[in-house]
Symmetry: C2
Subunit: 117 residues, 2 copies
Amino acid sequence: MSEEIQQEICPLTVTQNAIAGRWKIVILWHLSQNEMIRFNELLKMLPGISKGILTRQLRELEVDELVHREVYKVVPPKVEYSLTELGQKFIPVLEAMQVWGKDLLNKKIEMYEKLED
Amino acid sequence: MSEEIQQEICPLTVTQNAIAGRWKIVILWHLSQNEMIRFNELLKMLPGISKGILTRQLRELEVDELVHREVYKVVPPKVEYSLTELGQKFIPVLEAMQVWGKDLLNKKIEMYEKLED
DNA sequence: CAGAATCCGAGGGGATACTG
DNA sequence: CAGTATCCCCTCGGATTCTG
C-alpha cells in the first residue's frame, strides 16, 4: 500500500512512468521539433516502428496529457499530433538527455579510435 | 540494419536504453544524493524492490558505466555503489525530470482540489 | 489515411530459496 | 552481507489483417 503511495508522490517515479515505452522519448523529440505532425509522417520518422505500436504509444502519451491529438473530420482522415503545455514543459528533460547521450557517444568514439592504434 | 545504426547513433536513443528499467532512475537519484551506498541500504531506500532485481539493475548500470561497484574483501561482505563520472554527468537529467514531475504532481493536486468544490 | 483487433514471443519484473 | 539460481507471470513490442 505504502509502495503505491510512493509510486504516486515521487516526482521521479511519475516521470519515469510517463516516459516508459520504447518510442516515447523519440516521439516527444520529433513533436518538439515540428509543432504538428500527421500520423504517417511520424511513422516515417521512426524507422522500425509499426503502426499499431505507434498508435499505442501516442494514446498513452495522450492519456498522460503530454500529447494533443487533433482530428479533422475529412475524407481521407487527417490527424495531427502536437505537444500539450505539459509536453512542452518536458523539453528541458529531452535537452538534458541529448547532452548526456552525445557525451556518451563521444566517449565511445574515443574508445574505437584507441583500438585502431 | 539501418535501424540498428539509428539505435546506436541517436543520442536520445542511447540515453533511453541506458535508463530503461523500472528502478534505474530512482537508483541513480539516491546515488546522486549519497556519494556511496551499500547494497542493503539501497534495498531499504527502494520499498517494493527485491534483491534479485536490485542486483540486476545495478549490474546493468555498471555495464553502461553509470555506476561503480566497489567490493571490499571482508567478512561479512561489504559492497559500496557510487556514481561514475558518466553517472554524475547524468544528474542534470535527473534534475530536469524532477522539476517536470513536481509540476505534474502540482497539476494533479489542483485537480483534486477542484473536485472538492 | 489513420487507425482497430488479434495474436504471438521475448524478456523483464517479482518471489522464493540457497550460499560464501 | 550481498549476492546467485530458479521459476513464474504478465506486460510490452511487434507482425499481420481488417476497416470507415
